[in-house]
Subunit: 93 residues, 2 copies
């Protein structure tokens, strides 16, 4: 299935930075980084569950937001870049 993952980690001193860094690293293992805190890609259901388990170690239920959009159809969504082009955005980190 096709996945878009967006997150917003509350930056709260060392703890926030650690959560942010780890969230980024974990997402990068499974998906393609396309904007500051936005990832996309194709994942099987077992891999999606693995990603969830890994992220649950860090994401703080009361502070951080993480939303996964799931398209059950194999087709990707159309993407429009109204600001920077595709290639530039991959240099964020």
């Amino acid at each position: 299935m096709y996945i878009i993952l967006v997150y917003d980690i509350l930056s709260e001193g060392n703890e926030g930075s650690r959560v942010s860094r780890n969230t980024f690293k974990i997402c990068k293992k499974y998906l393609t980084h396309i904007q500051n805190s936005v990832f996309e890609g194709e994942l099987t259901e077992p891999l999606l569950q693995k990603l969830k388990i890994e992220l649950k170690e860090y994401i703080r239920k009361d502070l951080d937001s993480l939303i996964v959009f799931e398209n059950p159809q194999p087709k990707r969504l159309k993407k429009h870049f109204w600001g920077m082009e595709d290639k530039k955005t991959s240099n964020f980190f």
Copy 2:
């Protein structure tokens, strides 16, 4: 069509804040705010074009990233909240 819009505005003094504020306000007129810089909703093609024209006044092609995902099918994508719940995220602004 169903739209997910994500943006990342480079915070660069007054100019960055102004772009960020205006981008947020414009998106809010057309779509539902679901995370810090993430919006979603149903838009017709003419409305999508109107949104694009309004945003182009502010988005800096060399500094800011704005990606629109478009699902031509009327169906919304499944949404999973792995951090904060839906209601809390709407209080960001």
